[in-house]
């Protein structure tokens, strides 16, 4: 019989990034018994790496800004695929959430009149990102962490959740996991659960994401019967480091372009002027002089094409390199050195300065950086009800990167950090309401728990099987090569069969060593979620026969207006098969539609 420790709460939040912390704070402030479970130490979640800032239409730098413009930018940037209600709530509530952080001790950079400073970013009409230099994620996570500590929230660090459990009436009631330092198995029971597990980028070879981003939350939801939407919509950030090879994929913040940096090819040409798409032509400068004037005067000039939404910039870089106009390491040049003073760069972008200096031996105040696209963010995710963040399974809520809908087919920079705060809080409210009104039992089935534990521990008992690292590497190759930035039908079908072949290898994985802090074993337990999630991304990519936002099909290079009204819903059906079903997007009310018109503000 497998041994485990069982603990009961009202609300259990899985994940300690911005979304999870904010959700738990909400539940605890309501007086509920709330706990947080996370795979790393507190304060180390992916959110800590966010650089550029959090988007909120506070209007501190440009008083013309307001929630309506932010709403419009988000929906248009998302290529019309976003959920209108989420985009509305997000645009309306972000300013309050940022101010709230100040009341909890955050110290944002200031404007001359003492308000929170806001910086320019791609796709945002006005300077809108509240920031602290280029370490905004650290400020956000530390503030929430310190708030959580002040409220005395129980945190189970370095604990990985493997599966969710339901009670006989189908409500999520428990979660099984293990404590990584000791290997001890744990069962959490609660009246409601919030998934805030972040992204999936670890399954690609070149990615900005950490080891934690294995898509566990997407998989936990899927296995529990919840719907996912639009998993094919994956963002490749245009500017990742390309050299040295060991840091390939590491993020170079969009703040470099927001603060004046420009892109050039190996011929020295500012090539983004050649890639301005029709929909953004009216608001994008078509010559260098106007683009350069824009930094000082947003009203009378149009924005530089380097600040088009990320999908456009990433595809353009890809095309330049393919056409033979790339640098020696397969990237293009990002130049801020010739455009801004050394002091300005070191003040605005201190961590970029250090990152290049220390890892690549490049002084960005003197030379251009070589950059290329890198797997960054999943727009798709768990289907949620906008106001409450409820998933389609009772008792289960989701917020942050793991939830789908807000960003449509492409996320604007800075919209994630504000998303975490707005919907983290709403998930905390939704989960608390649910917990307070729930009357049914949170009984969980001990034979099911034992089966989960046995399965998780099986690789430790097996001998002479495959190394989990080999499987991970093969999956990363498959996804990078076949489900990357530019996709085609035949390659996607091949990817699906390669993923299936990898799934067959999982039951043969073996790891040596013990149960305490064993990364090989930990990885073995991540593989099932990675494979489930990659299946969904690939299946969605096969179904979406068009190019939209982060999803680009070589064989269907145009957007199909009919598919722009469709969410691809992904779930496991009654017979255990993964299925993808097209469903109409919720219809946007007319008064919001009117906001999307050019010149509506």
């Amino acid at each position: 019989m497998a041994e485990y420790e069982q603990i009961d709460f009202d609300v259990v939040v899985i994940g300690a990034g911005g979304a999870g912390l904010r959700a738990a704070i909400e539940a605890k402030q309501r007086g509920l018994r709330a706990a947080i479970v996370c795979k790393s130490l507190l304060g180390k979640a992916h959110t800590v790496m966010a650089e550029g800032g959090a988007a909120a239409a506070m209007g501190n730098v440009w008083s013309e800004d307001n929630w309506k413009v932010h709403f419009r930018d988000t929906i248009r940037g998302g290529k019309m695929l976003g959920n209108w209600r989420m985009a509305q709530l997000h645009a309306q509530e972000s300013p309050d959430r940022i101010h709230e952080l100040e009341a909890w001790g955050a110290l944002f950079d200031r404007t001359n009149d003492g308000r929170i400073h806001q910086r320019d970013f791609g796709g945002h009409r006005y300077a809108r990102l509240a920031h602290v230099g280029d370490r905004t994620g650290l400020e956000l996570i530390r503030t929430l962490q310190q708030r959580a500590v002040a409220l005395d929230i129980d945190v189970f660090m370095e604990t990985k959740i493997l599966r969710l459990l339901k009670n006989p009436s189908g409500e999520v009631s428990g979660a099984v996991g293990y404590h990584r330092p000791t290997g001890k198995m744990m069962v959490f029971t609660a009246k409601s659960f919030v998934l805030a597990t972040g992204g999936i980028g670890r399954s690609w070879k070149y990615s900005t994401n950490s080891w934690e981003s294995t898509g566990d939350g997407h998989a936990l939801a899927l296995w529990a019967g919840a719907d996912l939407i639009d998993m094919e919509c994956l963002q490749f950030h245009p500017t990742g480091m390309v050299w040295p090879l060991s840091v390939r994929g590491l993020l170079v913040t969009e703040g470099v372009r927001g603060d004046g940096g420009i892109l050039r090819n190996s011929e020295g040409q500012r090539f983004m002027f050649n890639y301005i798409p029709e929909v953004f032509a009216a608001e994008t400068a078509d010559n260098e002089a106007e683009a350069d004037r824009w930094y000082e005067d947003h009203i009378n000039n149009r924005r530089p094409p380097e600040l088009l939404p990320r999908d456009e910039v990433a595809r353009s870089i890809n095309a330049e390199v393919k056409a033979g106009r790339g640098g020696p390491h397969g990237g293009v040049y990002l130049d801020i050195a010739s455009r801004r003073s050394s002091e300005f760069i070191q003040r605005q972008l201190p961590s970029m300065y250090h990152q290049f200096k220390e890892l690549a031996g490049v002084d960005i105040t003197k030379e251009a950086m070589e950059v290329g696209p890198t797997c960054h963010y999943i727009m798709g995710g768990i289907r949620v009800e906008p106001d409450t963040a409820a998933s389609t399974v009772p008792g289960l809520f989701a917020a942050g990167e793991v939830a789908g809908g807000l960003h449509g087919a492409n996320r604007l920079g800075g919209n994630s950090l504000s998303d975490l705060l707005v919907f983290g809080r709403r998930a905390g409210m939704g989960a608390s309401d649910y917990a307070e009104s729930r009357t049914s039992v949170t009984t969980v089935d001990s034979t099911e728990i034992e089966r989960i534990i046995d399965e998780a521990r099986a690789p430790l008992a097996r001998e002479g099987g495959e190394n989990p690292y080999d499987l991970q590497r093969d999956l990363q190759e498959t996804m990078q090569n076949l489900v990357g930035i530019i996709r085609t039908g035949s390659e996607l079908t091949q990817a699906l069969s390669e993923i299936d072949a990898l799934k067959e290898r999982v039951p043969n994985v073996s790891v040596n060593g013990g149960i305490a802090y064993n990364p090989g074993w930990n990885l073995a337990t991540d593989l099932p979620s990675m494979l489930s999630v990659c299946t969904m991304v690939t299946m969605g990519a096969i179904e979406r026969k068009e190019s939209r936002g982060g999803h680009t099909r070589d064989d269907f290079p145009k957007a199909d207006p009919a598919l722009g009204k469709i969410n691809f819903v992904q779930r496991i059906n009654g017979s255990g098969e993964c299925v993808v079903t097209p469903e109409p997007l919720p219809e946007m009310p007319d008064e919001l539609k009117a906001l999307l018109e050019e010149g509506a503000h």
Partner: protein, 269 residues
């Protein structure tokens, strides 16, 4: 490509030993790359922490050739290769396995800190602060909690018993951050002197030297804190002056109780 021997500590709280891994190093690699390759190819159970691989999360701290460093920011080509590169876990904290240590001491000390307690916002419900006033605090908020300053500090590195009543440099900068925060109203000085062991620090500056964020821990936090604490306890006139000027500051006991009293925590929402 250079040939290097990585000498990595393997073991747990019961004991252990160094194990040698001969390996090839490619251009531009950092210590963490090499450790990851050893994990993937030779020792999948080799325990280490990491998240960002860019010096931003403070997870990968270890002692490289005897000094604390972030493994992800230490380039192999900065280390001598004739001798084995020795990688050991941080000494000040109990070992869990291999390079992973139990850093809960730091989290416990953070828990004991009376939290941020802001004054009332302005009429529009928001706060105004000048850049120059937030910069002091921002220096300390750059801390990535790598705990390498705590590791190197002799007060706890060589004296386990001091951990009961010594917050350490990481927390001293947190106290200073709040002390200089334009909005905070809590007074933690008495607590700092009596229970957080500020007096044990004899300003060796070792902590400042290892800080990967180049925070001037001693000059900008510890020394000014020592001055303020002395003010608070030995100079009743100056102290009273401060009290009057900053009337909203609380006493140590009030401050300590603040955290656990849901009423006051609520009030700061």
């Amino acid at each position: 490509m250079a040939e290097v021997v990585m000498r990595i500590w393997r073991g747990d709280s019961e004991g252990g030993e160094f194990q040698d891994f001969p390996t090839q190093v490619s251009e531009g690699e950092v210590v963490l790359d090499v450790v990851h390759r050893i994990q993937a190819e030779d020792a999948p159970d080799l325990a280490c922490r990491w998240n960002c691989k860019a010096g931003k999360c403070g997870s990968c701290s270890a002692e490289i050739n005897g000094l604390p460093h972030l493994m992800c920011m230490t380039r192999m080509d900065t280390l001598p290769t004739e001798e084995p590169v020795v990688i050991a876990p941080m000494k000040t904290f109990p070992i869990i396995r291999d390079l992973v240590t139990d850093v809960s001491f730091n989290y416990e000390m953070a828990r004991r800190l009376p939290p941020f307690a802001p004054k009332e916002p302005g009429p529009d419900g928001t706060y105004r602060m000048q850049q120059i006033d937030v910069e002091r605090g921002q220096e300390f908020r750059k801390c990535i909690e790598c705990f390498m300053c705590q590791d190197i500090c002799h007060v706890i590195r060589d004296h386990e018993e001091n951990k009961e009543h010594y917050a350490g440099p990481r927390l001293f900068i947190r106290y200073m951050e709040l002390e200089s925060h334009p909005l905070d109203t809590n007074d933690r000085r008495e607590l700092l002197r009596e229970e957080m062991g500020l007096g044990y620090c004899n300003i060796t500056k070792c902590c400042t030297e290892v800080c990967p964020e180049h925070i001037k821990i001693t000059d900008n936090a510890i020394i000014p804190l020592k001055e303020r604490v002395v003010d608070a306890s030995y100079d009743p006139v100056a102290w009273l002056g401060r009290k009057i000027l900053r009337r909203t500051k609380k006493t140590a006991t009030e401050a300590a109780n603040y955290r656990t009293d849901p009423k006051t925590v609520k009030a700061s929402q």
